[in-house]
Amino acid sequence: MANLTGLLFAGGLGFMLLSIASGLDFGAPPMLVGTEIQAHAPQQTGAANIVTSVVLGYRAIDTLGELSILFAAAVSAGLVLGRRHTTAGTQTKGGFILQNGGSLLFPLMMTIGFYIIFHGHLTPGGGFQGGVILAAAFFLPLLARPGAKLHHKSLSLIEGFAGASFVLIGLLAMLEGKAFLQPLMIQDTLGQLVSAGTLPLLYLAVGLKVGAELASLLSRLIQTEAPQ
């Protein structure tokens, strides 16, 4: 019975997707918003990367919602899986290659993560991608030396500060008489590192928040062990 229901559901879903896909022309978007944004984004937000001007300019409140969803998911995952078992044994250290490789890769990954965050308004990438790379950089030494502990208090401090500054930048725009989270455009040359007004600051906040959140989640997860 359960198999039949599953088959019926899968068939219905496939039929729905096929009927939607058959009505669409491949590569011809039915909406005109995209062409409008492509025409006006560089002048309106000052960001050379149009994706960033959509994510942080035209759809900034969506990004705020995305951050809240990520926060809720990290908190609930940490709550359900992250409690350390009292019977958990001590973990063995990583081998020579893992330990030294972790130490060697840590500064490189930090550099790449911050590069991607700071150049989010110029080249592909941004706060989310760079933040995940930062979290991976903090996770690598932890994998090599499981006994080492991250400073959870400072991580949550960074996370809270970053999240608050995202909202504060949005409120700053309201003080200037604009809409919430509307980018504050400062007249400067397109494509410079310091350009696009508040967008790089927003992406820095996003990157720090995502990085701190995921690093603390991963370290909580690795410090727990299954009951024997």
Partner: protein
């Protein structure tokens, strides 16, 4: 899109499909996690080929790295972290034999 890109896309699609089927069929949980990350890797390459580098970077960082890490750590937390599938079966058999003897 040039013809070479189309062939690469086809190859990637085949790889992703076979990896997805592997996830369903394989007994070992860690192997399933690895195969699922292969699906994400193929998807990231497809995004890169379709000129969407932002999405490709997100997929590579989150889909390939982070989600498989979290899945693997959750496996360990739940006590399903077993590297050798055959070993588990033999342990079960041994358990049966011991019960019969006792």
């Amino acid at each position: 899109m040039s013809e070479i890109e189309l062939w690469i896309l086809l190859l990637l699609a085949l790889t992703m499909l076979s990896a997805a089927v592997t996830v369903l069929l394989v007994k070992n949980h860690i192997a399933a996690v690895a195969a699922a990350s292969v699906v994400s890797l193929g998807l990231a390459l497809v995004f890169a080929l379709l000129r969407a580098p932002d999405v490709a970077m997100t997929e590579a960082a989150v889909g390939v790295g982070l989600s498989s890490l979290i899945l693997a750590l959750a496996l360990r937390r739940l006590g399903l972290w077993k590297l050798d599938g055959a070993k588990v079966d033999s342990n079960l058999l041994q358990h049966d034999v011991e019960n019969r003897d006792g």
